[in-house]
Symmetry: C2
Subunit: 151 residues, 2 copies
DNA sequence: TGACATATTCGGCATATTCCGAATATAATG
DNA sequence: CATTATATTCGGAATATGCCGAATATGTCA
């Protein structure tokens, strides 16, 4: 992606940012993800810094964060120390993280069943736990099916 | 729920908080939700304030926020101005919100397909959009089935 | 090994978020 | 309508978050 990014590309990046931030992704990392999604090839931190108008250090921190989320991957440029970053195909990552939260929440609700001060509360918490576990399972199934349909 | 809450109840509330905050729920509101989940009956803002150790105004703001999320509902106490709050059964609320984000993200990815600078990028964005829409549909289906199984 | 290129860390600053308590608004009743 | 009870708003303070740029760490090559 060249120096002069089109308005459409800029808009895309800002929209991706707007959607990822509520998922708990810090703004600079979200913008980087949006930008990397549009890059046909891995890009350097210098280029990221320039294209997104952020400091080199912020680019580094954002890239490493995306890497920890497995949303981006580091590539090396042989013969230099330069790091290049590109998106991974692991776009399940965010869904998996949400599933883990769902599961933990369901577990907590089941823990609540055991301490509930009334039958009504107990029933409510149990039902909620059931609901969230059902949703989690449905997502796991869907991801399995998706993987298979792609193989 | 009486003045002297048990350690287990306290722990439950703090655990629910810990799990809801990453979903973007402010700490006080998350704690209130955890507390309300354990209440067999609607409770007043005074009681909330006292039990959670927060100011009356914070309790009010938190309760109204949960209400806007449809996680809690306001009840009136006839003959007084007092507001009582209790959790709703609308625990689908958070899942629906995530689904809307998923859908919007997929739409944005499809918009990206149209401006992509290369075939590779285009294919990638399209596949991601497909994936997220598949997940969203799976969740919608699961919620529909759940509703039916409860009727 | 030293020099250079490059990434990362860290302290500081600006801004955002969270909560408190006083001020203000609103609901209920006689 | 006035009074009282109660909820809500708002300004301010404390704390958290996000980012920058200088300092530091690390990788590559001759």
């Amino acid at each position: 992606m060249s120096k002069g990014r089109s308005g459409n590309e800029r808009r895309f990046v800002e929209e991706v940012t707007r959607l990822l931030v509520p998922w708990g992704v810090p703004p600079a990392a979200a913008r980087l993800y949006g930008y990397l999604l549009l890059c046909p090839r891995p890009v350097s931190l210098d280029q990221i810094s320039e294209e997104l108008g952020i400091s080199k250090s912020s680019a580094s921190v954002a890239a490493k964060l995306l890497e920890s989320y497995t949303l981006a991957r580091r590539h090396r440029e042989p013969g230099t120390k330069r790091a290049l970053y590109a998106v991974t195909e692991d776009y399940e990552s965010m869904i998996r993280q949400q599933n883990r939260l769902l599961e933990a929440f369901a577990e907590q609700l089941n823990a609540g069943v055991r301490i509930a001060a009334s039958k009504g509360v107990s029933a409510r918490l149990g039902e909620m736990a059931d609901f969230y576990l059902t949703l989690r399972s449905a997502m796991e199934d869907a991801m399995r099916r998706w993987k298979r349909s792609r193989a």
